[in-house]
Amino acid sequence: MEQYGYTDLPALMTRLTGDEKHDWSSASTLDVLWVLYDRVLGADDRFLLSKGHGPAAYYAVLAAKGFVPVEALDDFGSFESILGYHPDRKLVPGVEISSGSLGHGLPLAVGVALAGRRTFVLVGDGELDEGSNWEAVQYAGRIGLENLTTVVVDNHTATYGWPGGIEARFALEGWHAERVDGRDHDALERALSEPGGPRCVVAEISR
């Protein structure tokens, strides 16, 4: 199988055709996704993409890592394609949850973590407007769900912002929370590999 690296991702993403509307959203997750799949996730771990909007970067990483045939990128969004604008776990190898409706992944991740899995879930700062997330944040914090890590890609799209910072809100609920440069692979790797949880890693993406 051909080996792909980080520098191949832009080319893989350009193979995704159609009128995908979430270019910015997709690009904002690229580095976090790569670091997770290239450096952090083990065979027994679970990664849940909650922010299903703009999945181009996700599909590119899955293709680079051999989950999805690279050729599948070419008919993105077509009737026969396995790759839609929101991922479907029944269609896409390697996809753990079907997502697209915001605010579902973090509660699902709590369940997966309760089952004993080391679990990572990626949400967006805009997605955190959905109240369902906070039910999960509160509960996971209170019960000290150690094997759960939430990565918040913060590209500052929340309608009313998060005064005081997203990490402060997670910390208030009992999470270990920190903000790192969302383009810095070493910083992301270190933050995502820290033991003890629940952990919140806010990946800052400057617009």
């Binding site: 949850i97 605010g103 509660p107 699902l108 997966v112 899995r117 109240g131 509960y139």
Partner: protein, 297 residues
């Protein structure tokens, strides 16, 4: 005879003790009735989370029981039921308590007559409406042994005796042309009382989805069908229409009226207000039969 709720808590606690595959997720309601167990998770009054956690555990292979009051189990987290369970295509057992108007003094906030209709609109649900605690126990045991999506609707209303309603079960035969009355779950006892001296066939059904279309098509000898459901009137009308699409028929669908009643009082008063007590059912059937006679004339 213990109530359905009591039987549910006891059976679920036993399943947790006996089967490592079983987990349960509660949202405060009912947690005081359960012995503590490492796989019994109380998320507090967070019903969206309850369904999300249920689905997450199911993704990892657990057979999960989620439980709350009907409106908070079915209506509030409806999108989680649709997506987290349905779209992700994992199984779970949702067990509600409260039925349509068990909380008669609590008003509309605690009443959910549309629950079966809502879940019927989603894909792949088995829906059990037991009419007796023994039926609940059997339905729950079947659900625990399986891996599909199952909704079990508990009720404070129960029939005098248990019956088997997994398939359409004809309990009393009238003449060939007599109305064919299908009583669902706890509607059976008032239906039998209403029709004791009428020329009708009475059949019982507790598993309403998948609907036993073949059973109805095979058992019906006349043209008139009366459906008595303890939830929103007409919930199974489309199922009956589909099963009888190849023959002329008439349908009277009785159930909880789609109204804002704005009344408190007792369950019995609510049942009467919706025409679901024996007198109301009898009156409706007699009017239905007379209307057929006038059409024929």
């Amino acid at each position: 005879m213990s109530s359905m709720r009591t039987r549910f808590y006891r059976t679920t606690a036993q399943a947790l003790a006996d089967d490592d595959r079983v987990a349960a997720v509660f949202a405060a309601i009912g947690i005081g009735e359960m012995p503590a167990h490492p796989r019994l998770h109380d998320v507090g009054i967070r019903e969206q989370l309850m369904i999300g956690v249920t689905a997450g555990l199911a993704l990892e292979g657990y057979r999960v029981v989620a439980h709350s009051y009907t409106p908070f189990l079915v209506e509030r987290p409806y999108e989680q039921i649709k997506l987290d369970l349905g779209h992700n295509d994992v199984g779970a057992i949702l067990v509600s308590t409260g039925a349509s108007y068990d909380a008669s003094t609590s008003g509309r906030t605690h009443q959910s007559p549309a629950d079966v209709a809502l879940l019927s609109a989603l894909t792949g649900w088995t829906i059990d409406v037991p009419g007796h605690p023994d039926e609940l126990e059997r339905a729950l045991a079947q659900a625990l042994a399986g891996d599909g999506r199952v909704y079990i609707r508990l009720s404070e209303e129960t029939n005098v005796a248990a019956a088997n309603g997994e398939h359409l079960n004809v309990l009393r035969r009238g003449s060939d042309d007599a109305p064919f009355v299908v009583a669902v779950g706890p509607s059976l006892s008032p239906t039998l009382a209403a029709t004791a001296d009428l020329d009708v066939t009475v059949a019982y059904l507790s598993r309403v989805r998948p609907f036993d279309a073949a059973g109805l098509a095979a058992a019906l000898t006349g043209t008139d069908v009366v459906l008595v459901e303890p939830y929103l009137a007409g919930t199974s009308s489309a199922e009956i229409a589909r099963s009888l699409a190849d023959r002329p028929h008439r349908l009277l669908a009785l159930g909880v009226e789609n109204v804002e009643l704005r009344r408190y009082g007792t369950r019995e008063e609510h049942r009467r207000a919706h025409g679901l007590d024996a007198e109301g059912i009898r009156t409706s059937i007699e009017r239905f039969t007379r209307s057929a006679s006038s059409v024929a004339a």
